[in-house]
């Protein structure tokens, strides 16, 4: 092949850039007014503010074949809408660890602050990203060169959970509440761990609390029919108590209408041993492993059904104008779904593990939840539901949020 022909067939990276209208877009315009040249590989999509840029747009960029994605906006303090970029920054602080666990090549995802006055910086950033991406080669999202052979990784044995306790006290408390009429129903478990609704004092005897009682009963509290029953008694292991705090902050429950019947003991801080072990794999290995996991996903949405935090009546997975998440059980659709499910739990998942237990395909969703729980802990000293009345992580921001990953 002649040198010219070779050049024409050489890889040209495709770069998608989501930029804010008031800073980076104007900075790009300024680069134009000053005739500062840069490679023609980037395609800009203008949005009013980085606050508008949802995490899914980054995933979408790779889905349509981008080799790198850039998100850029106003410097902190300069946001045209005062705080949109702070919200964006907070979101990315939590989203990046998720992408890392999934094995995304983080060298292909860039965040910058480029102001309207920084035409030169825009030129430099685009040039550097284009050349760096050219050197990396095509991203080939969800198509690994070695056919996606997953590494043989198994999680280490989980930490021992404390023995279930409090069954006797729970039964008598439930009986008491029902006989006095303080509640119209007690939601608890039967001997197999299946959810059980006790409506009369005698039924309280059948309520159990043993090793199989893991279902997150808070999931019933969002149902209209249950709420219509009036005051409810709830057998509440520590994870369920945490779930109540999160649901209360998000205006989903009326705490006055719920009488908690505490059972069990807290298993202490979340166990990150499995996550630590997984993160020792190289990114490509992680991605291959997840591809094998999500290949098995049949999109039954059991993970969503058992989770009390998934309470949206019209889930984003069911929205079809636009169809941000493909509903088909394809690899692409499954990745999009699980990324969204996991990220929507950022700062909200109470670690009950029900999604993982309920999954008929045995997908290790706990790894994703643990990723976000650890990010919340490390970056914000935050544990979902640990403190009643605590502000959520997403929807709030701090001027001190770390931005070492933002250029």
């Amino acid at each position: 092949m002649s040198a010219e022909k070779h050049e024409r067939h050489a890889f040209e990276p495709k770069i998608v850039a989501y930029v804010c209208n008031w800073c980076t877009y104007l900075g790009a315009d300024l680069a134009g007014t000053n005739r500062l040249e840069y490679p023609p590989n980037v395609r800009l999509i203008r949005l009013p503010c980085t606050g508008r840029i949802d995490f899914n747009l980054i995933v979408k960029g790779f889905e349509i074949g981008a080799d790198a994605v850039l998100v850029s906006g106003c410097h902190p303090g300069d946001c045209h809408y005062t705080a949109g970029n702070y919200h964006a920054r907070r979101r990315w602080m939590l989203f990046r660890p998720l992408l890392e666990t999934l094995g995304f090549d983080m060298r292909r995802i860039h965040f910058t602050w480029i102001s309207a006055a920084e035409g030169r910086k825009f030129q430099q950033v685009i040039t550097e990203i284009t050349e760096a991406t050219r050197a990396l080669g095509p991203a080939g999202y969800l198509s690994l060169p070695n056919g996606g052979k997953a590494p043989a990784w198994t999680p280490p044995p989980p930490a021992l959970k404390p023995e279930p306790s409090g069954e006797e006290q729970m039964r008598s408390a439930a009986a008491q509440l029902l006989s006095s009429g303080a509640v119209s129903v007690v939601i608890g478990y039967d001997s197999h761990g299946a959810p059980s609704f006790a409506r009369r004092a005698e039924d309280a005897e059948r309520l159990c609390f043993n090793q199989q009682c893991t279902a997150n009963l808070a999931v019933y509290l969002k149902r209209k029919e249950i709420r219509a029953l009036g005051r409810i008694g709830l057998v509440a292991a520590p994870a369920i108590l945490r779930a109540l705090n999160v649901l209360e902050t998000e205006s989903q429950i009326d705490r006055e209408q719920i009488v908690e019947i505490p059972v069990g003991q807290s298993s202490g801080d979340p166990d990150f041993a499995a996550l630590d072990s997984f993160l020792r794999l190289a990114p490509e290995e992680r991605m291959a492993w997840w591809m094998a996991e999500f290949e098995r996903c049949v999109r039954c949405y059991a993970c969503r059904a058992v989770c009390p935090m998934c309470y949206c009546e019209r889930c984003i997975a069911e929205k079809n104008r636009p169809q941000a998440i493909s509903p088909s059980a394809t690899l692409e659709g499954n990745f999009a779904w699980h990324i969204a499910r996991a990220f929507h739990q950022a700062g909200r998942c109470v670690g009950c593990g029900e999604c993982t237990r309920a999954c008929p395909a045995g997908i290790n969703l706990s790894l994703l939840n643990a990723t976000l729980a650890r990010a919340a802990m490390q970056q914000f000293h935050y544990r979902a539901g640990a403190e009643r009345g605590a502000e959520p992580l997403i929807g709030r921001y701090s001027l001190n949020d770390k931005e070492d990953f933002i250029r």
Binding site: T33, L44, R52, G61, Q252
Partner: protein, 660 residues
């Protein structure tokens, strides 16, 4: 069925030199939904715009994409052209193939391919544009001005003279602010009260200005054009409608030694007092922290003496509600407190200057009162310690200002000028006195300002030393000022009878809490944030709230007055129509699918989201009067019930997918 018209501009040579515009137009015609596609040398020219209008009519276009310069340049131009042809202006989009394509690439093939991609993305977006109408919000054509200093008074007068009612709230018992306490002002040496008090009277008597003095803003609700403000009228214990201001009460009050706030502690007042003789309203107030009748039930002499029976010991605070359409914040400044102890740990004091310990070390405002004809010493400059006339006065500039070690990085702007003024006032009063100034730089940038400083030095004999002062010690009734003269490179010690410190200008205390009530921004020092430092200096990012004067940043009287008039003109623009017209590219929420998690409510930078109770559920709702269209709510919404016009989910996803 979409019928999009694509118009590719050559922009003379600017685009056509690099992008093959004919090819691009030809290929754009094949994009699904494109009805017509043409190219022309200057789309923004009259014939170019005529072409767009013709095609809209002739091809019954449902949308227009002009591939040309940046939307920041000509989006409005083409929207107007479309509107003239009967097409809703929000069905027009611009594809930027100039600033972001032809001007930054040289490879013709690559640039042409990129231009086509950009046009394809924009066509996909445009197919999903909604026809929008500007949002009409009713406007209450009354204004609130917070702060009755010179800036607040100016703004109030301008707005009232324009024909609108103004509510003027002032926390002190009288309007006038800091300027009422000054002696003479630079660069004219006008008597401050002589030029201010006529304005104060005008404001007090203006038929359209309603004064709430000795009052503070409690809360602000609502949005531009429709604010509801609650104001606390603090208890005066005097019925100001019955009172005539005759002064019998304060003349008979036995509690005479209360440090006067108006005199910054250099003089005294009574427990029932009027802050200064020219106060507006000229009515006294009782200080409940010192009045023995209020504290213990004894005395009550003022009530016995009052010929109008106007004293009300049973008075209480009153809460009043006012409805206004615009708010002007003119809360002014305070001086940085120089002592070692600081209320805010961000700042550090100057223990080394002895302020607070040495009676004769004072600040600029205290000096003003001591030389003021209506001051505690009737204009005779007397040392606070022994009442003697100081024969040597040292003025120190930049105390706090420009000093990162003290937490204040900025220049306070007015001190160089008022120090020069102080030296002149001193020398005019004490002909054999020595005035020494320790300075770092001289900032005298206004009209006749530099000449004024030169006059102080050359005519009035002020001695200027370039250097800072390291320490002041007291010795035998004198203040030993140890400084440096950097121009000669020697230490310089001066024995002074009095030292005046030019302390940094800070915003008034409580500004942060007021700013939060108004939902406006402020910087790390508390100065209020303008919308744009050059192009919108008196607007804030909250529609309907304007700022002026020293609350925005250190500035002198001419600038405060100019900003006040500027803010008033913005209010007048707002009030020019019965209804306010706002850009409709704002957020909206699908209440049926909304899960009422209120993430949007928490995240919205403008508090523009309300919680609403529908028949069978709760939901979030965007207030179209407040939403500024950032889209933060859209990104945080887990169910994607929130969306934003002009940048909808469908539009953005269609643009990304067009790149596949």
């Amino acid at each position: 069925m979409a019928r999009i018209g694509v118009f590719v501009c050559w922009c003379g040579e600017n685009i056509a030199r690099t992008v093959d515009v004919a090819q691009v137009a030809e290929q754009a015609a094949r994009i699904p939904g494109v009805r017509c596609s043409l190219h022309y040398k200057y789309m923004c020219s009259d014939p170019g715009q005529a072409m767009v209008r013709e095609k809209i009519a002739g091809e019954r276009l449902t949308g227009v994409v002009v591939a040309s310069c940046s939307p920041h340049m000509h989006l409005k131009t083409f929207r107007r052209a479309a509107a003239a042809a009967g097409l809703n202006p929000y069905l027009v989009e611009l594809a930027n193939i100039r600033e972001q394509c032809s001007w930054v690439h040289h490879d013709r093939a690559a640039a042409t391919a990129k231009a086509l991609d950009i046009i394809r993305m924009t066509v996909e977006k445009c197919k999903r544009n909604h026809a929008l109408e500007p949002i009409r919000v009713p406007v209450t054509r009354r204004a609130l001005v917070i702060g009755g200093g010179v800036a607040g008074i100016q703004a109030a007068l301008d707005i009232a003279d324009a024909g609108y009612e103004v509510v003027l709230v002032e926390k002190e018992p009288s309007i006038g602010g800091k300027m009422a306490g000054l002696s003479e002002t630079f660069p004219t040496l006008d008597c401050s009260q002589c030029i201010l008090t006529p304005r104060m009277v005008e404001a007090g008597q203006h038929p359209r200005i309603k004064l709430h003095t000795y009052s503070e803003v409690e809360s602000v609700d609502g949005f531009v054009g429709n604010f509801t403000v609650t104001i606390r009228n603090k208890a005066r214990y005097v019925d100001i409608d019955k009172c005539t201001g005759c002064g019998e009460c304060w003349n008979v009050c036995p509690w005479k030694k209360i440090p006067s706030e108006f005199d910054y502690g250099t003089g005294f007042r009574r427990a029932i007092y009027i802050p200064f003789p020219q106060a507006v309203p000229a009515r006294p107030v009782i200080d409940k922290n010192h009045c023995v009748k209020l504290l213990k039930g004894a005395c009550g002499l003022c009530a016995k003496k009052c010929p109008r029976d106007a004293i009300r010991f049973d008075d209480t605070d009153r809460i009043v509600e006012e409805r206004v359409g615009a708010i002007v914040v003119a809360t002014g400044y305070s001086l940085y407190s120089i002592g070692k102890e600081q209320a805010d740990p961000k700042y550090r004091g100057y223990g080394e200057y002895g302020y607070g310990a040495f009676k004769d070390v004072i600040d600029g405002l205290q000096f003003e009162r001591l030389v003021s004809a209506s001051g505690p010493t009737a204009g005779e400059l007397k040392r606070p310690s022994d009442g003697k006339t100081p024969k040597s006065v040292v003025f120190i500039s930049c105390v706090g200002s420009r000093d990162n070690a003290k937490g204040i990085s900025y220049c306070s702007k007015i001190c160089c000028m008022y120090i020069a003024k102080h030296t002149m006032l001193y020398r005019h009063k004490v002909h054999d006195g020595e005035a020494h100034v320790f300075y770092m730089d001289i900032r005298a940038g206004g009209k006749s300002y530099d000449e004024f400083v030169r006059r102080a030095i050359e005519q009035d004999g002020a001695k200027y030393h370039r250097g800072r002062v390291s320490k002041i010690v007291e010795q035998d009734g004198k203040l030993i000022v140890r400084g440096a003269d950097t121009l000669s490179g020697t230490p310089l010690t001066i024995e002074a009878d009095m030292v005046v410190l030019a302390t940094a200008m800070r915003p008034a205390p409580g500004i942060e809490s007021l700013a939060q009530k108004l939902n406006i921004g402020y910087d790390e020092h508390g100065f209020l944030l303008e919308s744009h430092p050059k192009l919108r200096p008196v607007e804030t990012n909250t529609a309907g709230v304007f700022i002026c004067g020293a609350a925005h940043g250190p500035k002198d009287i001419p600038e405060s007055v100019a900003q006040a008039s500027a803010a008033a003109s913005k209010v007048a623009v707002l009030f020019a129509n019965q209804e306010l017209s706002r850009e409709p590219e704002i957020a909206y929420i699908n209440e049926q699918t909304c899960a009422a998690c209120y993430a949007c409510y928490r995240a919205c930078p403008y508090h523009a989201i309300e919680k609403v109770q529908l028949k069978h559920k709760r939901a979030a709702r965007v207030n179209p009067g407040l939403c500024m269209g950032c889209g933060t709510c859209v990104a945080v919404c887990p169910s994607k019930s929130a969306d934003i016009e002009g940048f909808t989910e469908q539009q953005i996803y269609s643009m990304v997918e067009a790149l596949a």
